[in-house]
Amino acid sequence: LRAEFAMNQHFETARVSPSPYAGWTPALAPSGRTAPRRGELPLQELEFRRLRTPGEIAEIQHLRSEIHLPVATLRSAEFGTLEKKETRKASWEPSSGMTP
């Protein structure tokens, strides 16, 4: 039950009443389509796309504020290093026995 409650809070289900989005006007998606209303996304039309370029990453920066990291993580001196990862194999450190 606690998990269910947390999930409802975490993902803000449409069961909230009164809806904080009652007056929300659907945005116009870049393609020219009218974005569906909250809770009416056609799930089968969703896709997952790997972001590869700095420009693509920049386009999703606004979502960073929605990620609630532990305070200690944000204040860590290593935060920048851990967040800005270099994923070319040549840069990997010798580490555990696990292989990617």
């Binding site: 972001l51 990620i67 204040r75 026995g97």
Partner: protein, 146 residues
């Protein structure tokens, strides 16, 4: 990092970090617990930073679809076998529904009152748990060769 998209509209994002190269924070945590490393042979990835745009958050179905898409991509393109993540206790209960189990519950995080959990699942189990309907189950079976 990958984006969940409806046509050209970004709905949310999720990050996956390959383990074994010292890139993931998870590795440091697991290196302190060698008995957990690795839980099963094959490639291991850290899952995290799952975020959905507040304008589109609409309950468990959307989350489930996003997990299915992301894990499908990871298995298909990178042969992911093991999935690891760190999260608070409440979210670790949430992720049970995607086949994750708690492998450590004593991770102290400075500034946080309660310890964090480390969770693990076989990627195949996550995919099957996230699959909804015949189409997704068929796609999962095809991807897993079952």
């Amino acid at each position: 990092v990958g984006a969940f998209e409806w046509h050209d509209t970004v709905i949310g994002t999720m990050r996956f970090v390959p383990m074994g190269g010292g890139l993931s924070a998870m590795e440091r945590l697991l290196n302190d617990r060698p008995q957990l490393l690795p839980l099963s042979p094959g490639s291991s990835w850290e899952f995290g930073r799952l975020v959905l745009d507040p304008e589109y958050r609409a309950g468990a179905d959307l989350l489930q679809r996003c997990v299915f898409l992301a894990v499908s991509h990871l298995i298909e393109n990178f042969g992911c076998v093991n999935a690891y993540a760190s999260c608070n206790q409440i979210l670790s209960r949430l992720y049970r529904r995607f086949a994750f189990s708690v492998i450590a519950d004593d991770v102290r995080v400075s500034g946080e009152e309660k310890p964090y959990n480390l969770i693990h699942a076989r990627a195949a189990d996550v995919l099957l748990a996230a699959a909804v309907g015949d189409n997704e189950r068929t796609a999962a079976s095809r991807l897993l060769g079952t």
